[in-house]
């Protein structure tokens, strides 16, 4: 009965999407048993695909087995992957976000533990999210994406103020910009963008209680949400919202073009807390502003907090994992290309800041070396790099968490209600 209903369900919901993507791979696709050792490799669609494709092409010339790269659009990538992983058409290697997103796959016995020697080529803080239960199951394959404060230089010059170094500075700036009818912080609070609200909570909890608070939650102690640091951070968020730090309309603003990024480059908002990809977004929408008007500083310190002001949150990087359906020798051999000079340099030329140990000396070739160096130093000097909570927890826990955070920002729940609602997510 189990098998029958499961097949029914798969047929009904996913067969169409699957057959399209799998058919696209041609014959060389899921041939895990083939003697040539071919591996199907799922990659997320973005500008660095050309760099990955070049690696794949040169690898295939080496004759150690073939890798076929399938590029899949961002929208629905996780759903497609999930469906494929539960079926016989599982890819051999796939792009992912590390952390909790890999937990389920490890538990279901779908992933292969990777050789620890591979890990020595990467910055340790970035490798962390590629491990599940201390076993290496993901190898970094992209740049690092720390979160920090972006600001509009012109708006700051006009107001005669400096970017915030401490939380008190930040509160003061809220008053200054409100007085000038400029939204102090652009915030994307629509239901599909609540991950931008999460960033505030991540940083405040880190600064107040240190990174240990969330690490314990991530390690399975869900009761740690009752840590006083979480409640205090939630209270600070309520105060920020009430004082108009995010303006009045944030509840239906989206991230990106036409949303927070436009508010920032048009000078309607002074600052935005965002991941390092904001630079690329601005470059796409307002190249001049990205080059001359966009400023960036680390998240300010919080007076009296336990957390080091150098701590960073965000996405350490993205990862490649290997499944049990892959020809292991081919996959292991291919993973070595992720720290080759050619690949690292290719990423840098696309504006990424790779987390390989050899990236530092290659950064001079970045399109904006100052920005690349700022990021590299931020990550290099950070005592800890906490992965975005929703990624670290996985979607099962992360999705309801995002909903509760949105309610907190919208004033639908008080800080106390927020804490008890989050505690109730996992009983």
């Amino acid at each position: 009965m189990n098998k029958v209903s499961r097949r029914w369900f798969l047929t009904a919901t996913a067969a169409t999407t699957l057959s399209v993507t799998v058919a696209g791979c041609g014959n060389s696709g899921s041939s895990s048993t083939s003697p040539t050792g071919n591996v199907d490799f799922w990659m997320l669609q973005d500008p660095t695909n050309t760099v990955s494709q070049a690696e794949v092409d040169s690898f295939n010339k080496g004759g150690k087995g073939r890798v076929t790269m399938t590029v899949i659009a961002t929208d629905g990538y996780k759903d497609k992957l999930r469906t494929a992983m539960g079926s016989a058409k599982m890819p051999g290697m796939f792009f992912n976000w590390g952390g909790g997103s890999l937990d389920d796959y490890v538990k279901a016995g779908k992933l292969v533990e990777l050789d620890g020697m591979l890990g020595t080529h990467f910055l340790p803080s970035a490798l962390e999210a590629g491990k599940v239960d201390d076993k290496l199951v993901g190898i970094p394959c992209r740049g690092t994406q720390p979160v920090f404060l972006f600001y509009n230089k012109k708006v700051f010059t006009d107001a005669g103020v400096q970017p915030p170094k401490t939380y008190a500075d930040l509160q003061n700036l809220v008053k200054v910009f409100k007085g000038k009818d400029i939204t102090p912080f652009a915030l994307a609070g629509s239901a599909s963008s609540s991950w931008t609200e999460l960033m505030w909570l991540e940083y405040l909890v880190d600064r107040i209680g240190g990174p240990g608070v969330f690490w314990r939650i991530q390690d399975g102690d869900w009761s740690k949400w009752s840590d006083p640091a979480v409640l205090r951070a939630a209270g600070m968020i309520k105060d920020l919202v009430d004082s108009g730090a995010f303006g009045k309309n944030f509840g239906s603003v989206n991230y990106g073009s036409g949303g927070t990024s436009t508010l920032l480059n048009k000078g309607k908002a002074a600052m935005v807390l965002m991941g390092s990809w904001e630079y690329a977004t601005q470059q796409g929408e307002a190249p001049d502003f990205a080059k001359n008007g966009l400023g960036y500083v680390p998240f300010p310190s919080v007076e009296g907090g336990k957390g080091d002001a150098k701590n960073v949150v965000g996405n350490p990087t993205n990862y490649i994992s290997v499944t049990t359906s892959a020809a292991e020798d081919t996959a292991a051999e291919f993973l070595k290309t992720t720290y080759s000079d050619a690949y690292v340099q290719g990423l840098i030329e696309k504006g990424e800041v790779p987390v390989t140990t050899n990236a530092g000396q290659l950064l001079a070739k970045a399109p904006d070396p100052a920005y690349a160096k700022f990021q590299y130093d931020l990550v290099q000097n950070a005592p800890t790099f906490t992965q975005s909570w929703d990624q670290a927890l996985g979607l099962t826990l992360g999705t309801p968490l995002l909903t509760e955070i949105q309610k907190l920002f919208n004033g639908q729940s008080s800080p106390q209600q927020f804490v008890s609602a989050v505690l109730a997510i996992k009983k």
Binding site: F9, S190, K248, S252, V253, Q412
Partner: protein
């Protein structure tokens, strides 16, 4: 039902109803693509399934969680509010527009064609266009705040109002089309007789047009109810269930549970409930309206 019997009974061809065999292809399709998946969903609602390993039977666990889940009841309420809101807004507008466009003047044909344009757009395009128009910082609300309020999509009432507005904008043309056809089919003799009796346009509308449109009204309302219960794309693209979970309707909750949190068991429970709700609504509507009797509005003519 064997074919022999059908052949026997089919002897006097004009009088007998067609045999069940005629329904077989449709029935088979229905069994394979509707009944079987439904049974599958019902079974899944008693399991815990993450989509990776095999489903594990957990008994009534999902259902006891379901009945204690305030979010589900809120979603049911929002679904109901949207449903009623849509009917209340769309039905009168569609009837008036449909009856008006049933006339024959030249300008009506041109204007009707313009009114029917939204019907040609996909919901995705419609939702994205309205999202831009309703943007609080760069859209209409920033220009004409007195009409929209500062941030229509940022509150529950505003969100629901926007959903009703956009759905109506898209589907009023469809229902008007139904009414247009029906209004054109009303015999002219009725109006001529009424005019001789001295009835004005308003009286004619209420005493002839509206009663004659009864069956169309029922059909159109059933479409609205069924469409309302399964509306999903517009919510996903316009509000994404937000702000918070304020405009999260049942199909959206189901999607969120199944494909965002990968809790297929619980999502199946929501789906089963939705199925029950839709069936009940449809049965109730047919019973109450006497649609199953299919009496003619032209009796006596």
């Amino acid at each position: 039902m064997s074919t022999h019997r059908v052949r026997d009974r089919a002897a006097p061809p004009a009088l007998e109803r067609p045999g069940v065999v005629w329904a077989l292809p449709g029935l088979l399709f229905f069994l394979v693509f509707a009944v079987a998946p439904m049974a599958g969903v019902l079974y899944l609602s008693f399991t815990h399934w993450d989509g990776l390993s095999s489903p594990q039977f957990t008994g009534a666990e999902n259902w006891s969680r379901f009945f204690g889940d305030s979010q589900v009841w809120q979603s049911t309420l929002v679904t109901g509010v949207l449903l009623v809101g849509n009917i209340v807004v769309q039905a009168p507008v569609s009837i008036l527009l449909g009856v008006w466009s049933a006339g024959h003047q030249r300008n009506r044909a041109v204007l009707s064609a313009v009114f029917f344009l939204p019907l040609l757009l996909s919901t995705a395009a419609t939702a994205i266009m309205w999202r831009q128009l309703l943007d609080p910082n760069f859209g209409l609300p920033s220009k004409v705040a007195w009409l929209f309020g500062t941030n229509p999509l940022g509150t529950q009432k505003g969100g629901i109002a926007c959903l009703v507005l956009v759905t109506s904008w898209q589907f009023v043309p469809f229902h008007s089309l139904l009414y247009q056809g029906a209004a054109r089919a009303i015999p002219h003799t009725l109006y001529q007789a009424a005019a001789i009796d001295g009835a004005g346009r308003v009286r004619q509308f209420f005493h002839i047009t509206l009663p004659q449109l009864r069956n169309t009204t029922i059909t159109s309302t059933i479409f609205m109810v069924v469409g309302g219960l399964t509306a999903f794309d517009i919510v996903l693209l316009l509000t994404n269930g937000g702000p918070g979970t304020d405009t999260s309707i049942l199909p959206f909750s189901m999607y969120q549970t199944a494909f965002r949190t990968y809790d297929y068991g619980y999502a199946s429970a929501i789906a089963s409930f939705l199925l029950l709700l839709a069936t009940a609504a449809s049965v109730l509507l047919t019973k109450l309206s006497g649609f199953d009797k299919m009496t003619s509005t032209l009796e006596g003519l």
